[in-house]
Amino acid sequence: MIRNTRKPGRYQRGGTQVRKKRVCRFCENDTTYIDYKNEKRLQRFVSEQGRVIPKRITGTCSKHQRMLIQAIKRARHLALLPFVSEAVR
């Protein structure tokens, strides 16, 4: 069984191995509130096209993902983050 020899916590995508992040970045420093005004921090959780990156890829926990989404939506309303990036438009 070749499949079972794969190391846990890693998955293959397009032939390259990607290490999966397990710890939520916000849990690491006990974040209780995600500020929508800090767009640089939010940018990390948004794809190049401007879409929210799913938590299964970023490793964010459900609680913080919910807070993050609210922050992203607020930032979008204030044109701090794009709804759709210019390249796609």
Partner: protein, 130 residues
Amino acid sequence: MKGLTKRYETVYIVNASLDDAQIDAIIEKTKEFIVKQGGEIQEVEKWGRKRLSFPIQKKNNGFYVVTYFSAPGDFVTKLTRYYHLEEQIIRHLTILLDKKALLALEQKAKEKEASGEAQGESSAESTSGA
């Protein structure tokens, strides 16, 4: 009876093609409006001109202003109405600050203070050195 006052945070974007004096006038007007309607301003923060991620009303730049204030609940609708009437304000957002947000805000203020002190010390050193 007057309603309970709660803490709010409001961000608005002023048309950046105006002169600085005109923008200041709008900021003053907004401050006045908040105080007049029974609000109490804690802090007004100017971010200045920033590029918008997407055009709003055919404008690519905006002047961001953040205001922290406390006011009774029915004030927010009045503020929204004011924003709509003010033509030079192209976007606005008012949010209620809950316990967690207030805590984060306090923490941020503390950090700012600490860094400000550190900066003050370093500048003092540089002046003494010179």
